[in-house]
């Protein structure tokens, strides 16, 4: 099978090209260093099967940094047939040396000049015939997300004929005028910080505000599923199935799954909004402005990318740390990442805040998310002073141009988030809900118990044995302990467990509820994240992280309860 590698500078459009070529949905972002490992897919070009490999961005073959070594090693291995070098039109001059380095690998090389239309609009021009002869390689130009332009690339790849180039070094490049001076305003701290705060508050209102469109849709989904599954279908199946199966399917699995599924619109909206800011280039520019602020906590602007990834998923955020060179800084950020509130915790806050603040829950959730920005920084500051002292890295990096994000990549990203969430519900949440329901419906001598006999169940006995951990925050109900344990597998499991066990959050005092929210915010990350910790830092570090944040979660919740009851 033929192998084709896609390489280029960071943020040149390699992954976008990969997605258009292969139909896949690899993560894209308007930030340097989004792709951190190779992505592979198979396509058909003509009659041949071709494996396409997307590699992380790099600047030089001869002197690669840590994050560039994956690409450098792969290219030197020569286990491929063709190189597609992706370069933004306005940066072709800077890529000259790299293209010539790649030519020396003696593999068929095609240069794809991306974003040429924007370049032309700003007064730039490339004479492609002269460029082909300058480098002695085929050149295709267009937009990486446009199937027509990518089709031209495929035609060149299919062409087996050897083209003769003159190798004449004639000037082929006319630079563009410096584009979009408006974007420079986002480098001004008096503008950038307020824009960041206002846009985040708006996003939280949009996703969690009582009368926001997303909350209305979320509510409608909940009522629809409640009616369809829990009323209509349950009544129909009641006569056909045994009480055990009816209970397992409807009172266990359906209740658990629906309690999390109703947050699908909010998770998708939050993810899309964050992605919009990411793809617009705002976060990349903001990292430059925030660099000085972050340095006071022992971090650099580079860390902002990992912290922002943490809003989506802690596991992804931990993976993104490979771009940080300093090992102690890396460990500091890694240990602080659990304090960045991932999207899986969002249903937990929303579920617990519902009765607490009656329509203004988005304010509490906003506070939690802003705390998610400040607390990891404070935590990193403390670690920098005590155990993981290290120098702040000098932030030298390319920053992305600002642009209006293209609709297609946003839609693809939304699709990816929705499918990922549904798969998680269909696997982890479904299984955990079934498991919890079975344990709460079965006694130690394996007799089936009905709703009123739950106190005799295995689950109740185990829950009560562990419920002492929440007594200091005024919670003696064993159901919360069970929720916390299930949350170790998937944070949404806290919600599904509390829902199917019928935990009445109205019975909790304000301080107990808030303390439990703080616990859910801070305690041990889920097993998926711990697995990534293990992969990146080793078993010892991942265990330290798990125990550290288990104790940390309890201590923070006790402290919250104590302060609120002063």
């Amino acid at each position: 099978m033929l192998k084709c590698v896609i390489v280029g500078h960071p943020n040149a459009g390699k992954t976008t090209l990969f997605n258009t070529l292969t139909g896949k949905n690899a993560t894209v972002g308007n930030w340097h260093g989004v792709t951190l490992k190779e992505e592979t897919a198979k396509i058909k070009i003509g009659e041949s099967n071709v494996e396409v490999i997307d590699l992380p961005g790099f600047y030089s073959l001869s002197c690669a940094d840590e994050e560039e070594k994956i690409t450098q090693n792969y290219l030197y291995s020569k286990k491929y047939d063709t190189i597609i070098f992706v370069v933004e039109a306005k940066k072709v001059k800077r890529a000259e040396k790299l293209i010539l380095e790649l030519k020396k690998l003696n593999k068929k090389t095609v240069v794809f000049v991306n974003a040429y239309s924007d370049f032309e609009k700003n007064g730039g021009k490339i004479d492609f015939n002269k460029m082909k002869n300058y480098f002695g390689v085929e050149v295709v130009f267009g937009n990486a997300f446009d199937k027509f332009h990518v089709g031209k690339l495929l035609q060149v790849l299919q062409n087996d004929k050897t083209t003769v180039f003159t190798n004449r070094k004639e000037e082929y490049f006319l630079p563009q005028q410096r584009k979009n001076k408006f974007q420079d305003i986002f480098l001004n701290k008096y503008f950038a910080f307020p824009v960041f705060i206002i846009s985040m508050v708006f996003i939280f209102w949009l996703c969690f505000g009582k009368f926001s469109p997303i909350s209305i849709i979320s509510d409608a989904i909940s009522r629809l599923f409640d009616y369809l599954l829990l009323n209509l279908l349950k009544k129909s199946f009641n006569m056909l199935l045994s009480p055990f199966l009816t209970g397992l399917i409807f009172d266990g699995i359906c209740v658990g799954v629906i309690s999390v599924l109703e947050f699908l619109p909010q998770i998708c909206a939050l993810s899309t909004c964050m992605n919009f800011l990411n793809q617009s280039g705002f976060f990349s520019r903001f990292s430059a402005v925030a660099d000085d602020f972050l340095s006071k906590f022992g971090l650099s602007g580079r860390s902002l990318y990992s912290l922002i990834c943490g809003f989506g998923c802690t596991a992804v955020a931990v993976s993104s740390l490979s771009g940080i060179e300093n090992k102690k800084t890396k460990k500091r950020v890694a240990l602080s990442l659990p304090l960045v509130s991932c999207s899986a915790k969002t249903p937990v806050y929303t579920f617990l805040c519902k009765e607490l603040f009656n329509g203004y829950s988005f304010l509490i959730i906003s506070v939690i998310y802003f705390a998610s920005i400040l607390f990891p920084l404070l935590h990193s500051y403390i670690l920098n002073k005590c155990v993981l002292k290290g120098k702040v890295e000098n932030y030298v990096s390319e920053i992305a141009d600002m642009r209006i994000p293209a609709f297609k990549p946003l839609l693809k990203s939304l699709q990816k988030t929705a499918i990922g969430f549904i798969i998680k519900i269909g696997t982890v949440i479904l299984l955990s809900s079934a498991f919890v329901w079975i344990l709460k419906s079965v006694s130690f001598d394996f007799k089936f118990l009905n709703e009123s006999q739950t106190e005799k169940s295995i689950l109740c006995a185990v829950g009560k044995a562990l419920s002492f951990v929440f007594k200091p925050i005024g919670i003696s109900d064993w159901k919360y302990t069970v929720g916390a344990v299930v949350g170790l597998f998937a944070k949404e499991g806290v919600v599904s467990s509390l829902a199917l066990l019928g935990a009445d959050t109205k019975l909790l005092s304000f301080s107990s509820k808030l303390a439990f929210i703080v616990f859910c915010y801070a305690y041990t990350p889920c097993v998926t994240a711990l697995a990534v910790y293990r992969r990146e830092f080793g078993l010892k570090f991942s265990l330290i992280c798990a125990v550290y944040w288990l104790i940390g979660g309890f201590l923070l919740s006790y402290l919250t309860y104590f302060i609120l009851n002063l």
């Binding site: 030089s60 430059a288 000098n394 932030y395 030298v396 390319e398």
Partner: protein, 73 residues
């Protein structure tokens, strides 16, 4: 003059870079090296700068910006 003290919205030629080897390497890869023309876009809080070179905007932190000598075009 030192880049971190130069005036914004002007073009400069890089005369000398006395930064650490790894920072010099990063700068080189991003297109900032001796005799290249750069445009100082903005100064950011803490003494860092944003420069435009070869079609890209580059952030250079304060400690590195203080090691770059430039002269106005």
């Amino acid at each position: 003059m030192i880049l971190s003290r130069a005036k914004t919205k002007r073009s400069y030629i890089v005369n000398k870079i006395t930064a650490l080897e790894k920072d010099k390497r990063k700068l080189y890869k991003l297109g900032v090296f001796k005799k290249v023309k750069i445009y100082l876009v903005e100064k950011i809080a803490g003494g860092g700068v944003i420069v435009s070179v070869s079609g890209s905007d580059i952030i250079i932190g304060k400690k590195v910006a203080e090691k770059i000598e430039v002269s106005q075009c």
